[in-house]
Symmetry: C2
Subunit: 306 residues, 2 copies
């Protein structure tokens, strides 16, 4: 095992112009782990209720994930989120958020996880993220995600947490909120003063930007000819990104992470995000192969080289 993923495992109800599913496996940790699992071994830290279905457990276990950190709360209900996308799928309306057992999520790191080298902290309360990080003394690369709520209402805690991360992976609006700068280059400069030596700004269908103090890399988004359901695409980007780095055994040195590897990690992130959009929920990952991933990586290269 190699990468520890902390975050939500949930059920989602999703409606897009292409259809509607009332309840299906979702959650950030689920998507991150499924995407990363093509590149590296994964251990999950999350919480579910006893309504969590055996078939969903089987899907995760079938990928070889270590589920000893997946806590099951007797009598509890799994986090449920429901949303509806706009016709162009660039906006979505949240119809329901039942935190259930996720409201009191206090990540418990199994002893065996503590010596693992890679850690991705999904979007949870920053102090919980920090507590997990503090238990992993030998970690080689730590990074994660956050969201507007923590940026606005838990800023001191978030800033203390970020100081110990190698990379932060957030979307453009979060980068603007965290930095107070609209321009993304200025936003990146401000955020890189907060601790992480590497920042990845996700821009949805428009791709992503990778920033370090001394250089940056701009990746356009892969052009799909049909977006079926964008739920989880950003988390799959994260999974592809950290999964690739973990699979390659990459470490940070005084310059940060090798930039050529980082660039490739961003493209693998985009590739995994693009696959995610091709079916409802996690469905695309039921059949996706590593060969398809490599083929899309090469296609990405062919469509962007000049």
């Amino acid at each position: 095992m190699s990468l520890i993923v902390v975050g939500s495992v949930a059920y989602d109800g999703v409606e897009t112009p292409h259809g509607k599913v009332d309840r299906m496996l979702g959650g950030a940790a689920t998507y991150i782990a499924l995407a990363a699992g093509y590149f590296t071994k994964v251990g999950i830290v999350a919480v579910v209720g006893d309504d969590f279905a055996q078939e969903d457990l089987d899907l995760l276990a079938g990928r070889g994930f270590d589920l000893s950190g997946l806590e099951r709360v007797p009598g509890g209900k799994t986090f449920f989120w429901a949303g509806k996308y706009s016709p162009d799928m660039n906006d979505r309306e949240t119809l329901r958020t039942d935190l259930n057992v996720f409201a009191d999520f206090n990540p418990k790191l199994p002893e065996a996880y503590r010596s693992e080298p890679y850690l991705f902290l999904g979007n949870i309360q920053p102090e919980l993220q920090r507590h997990v990080r503090s238990q992993m003394a030998q970690v080689r690369l730590t990074g994660g995600d956050t969201m507007n709520y923590w940026i606005m209402d838990f800023r001191p805690q978030l800033l203390a947490t970020l100081k110990e991360w190698d990379f932060l992976l957030i979307n453009d609006s979060e980068a603007r909120q965290l930095s107070g700068e609209y321009n993304l280059r200025r936003a990146a400069s401000a955020i890189l003063e907060m601790g992480p030596h590497t920042l990845i700004i996700k821009r949805g269908e428009y791709g992503a930007i990778l920033c370090r103090r001394d250089r940056h890399f701009i990746a356009p988004g892969y052009l799909l000819d049909r977006v079926f359901d964008p739920t989880g695409a950003g988390d799959c980007f994260a999974g592809g990104f950290i999964g690739y780095l973990a699979g390659r055994g990459v470490s940070a040195n005084h310059d940060g992470i090798d930039f050529a590897e980082l660039r490739r990690a961003v493209i693998y992130g985009s590739v995994m995000g693009s696959f995610c959009c091709e079916s409802f929920g996690v469905d695309r990952f039921r059949t996706l192969t590593r060969e398809e991933i490599e083929a899309r990586y090469r296609e990405f290269q062919a469509c962007t080289e000049f």
Copy 2:
């Protein structure tokens, strides 16, 4: 001389978060010609009033542009547009549009222009675009721009015009409107059935997509650390694109235009659009050098290679 540019020469009033200018040189043909002029000789077809200032004429003449197609209407007033940008500069509100002499613009092609090989038709009534095209029997490459108004209210005329073009260069919302498809790959497929063998879809700060039936190229936008005034950036993209192709003497064969040259033309388009945003109106082009253009092209390459 080599490239004929047809379109508006105007005065603009612009307010951005960085300042306000009540009246300055603007217009699509102005921006296209200024950007293209770094790569090729340019002849302009446009109309102004007798309020058009000598210093603005001098700027254009100083670039070596052929102005024999720049009609001056005695007693007429030059097209005036005023707009105000939102704080993030992704939206703008039109405060005033006085078409003035542009309302009756009927492009008159000087005899000497008719044998030129490159033609860019800026956004004017499609039948006028078609009429200009019909007078250039030896043209090697023809393309242009259009807008929502012609797409909605002059569709048959626009479709007849497009049939004779090699390339169409529009923004993403226009591509969606013209094709009736939201997804840009599907929109591109539909538009490529209308006549042009090459389609360039501009996506503002997010870059551009180049589409042919058999392949496509995705270019991200250059990341500026300050956008001073985005007015004219799309037209400068067009000028860089067609200017580069004209300067290289590129022709279309049965496969369309050489794809490697097209990709480079798109990057030069992005480069010219990025410079445009660095100052108010056309100001950046008063000092910009070809060396700066080449340096930014190389920087673009360094920031996107993986």
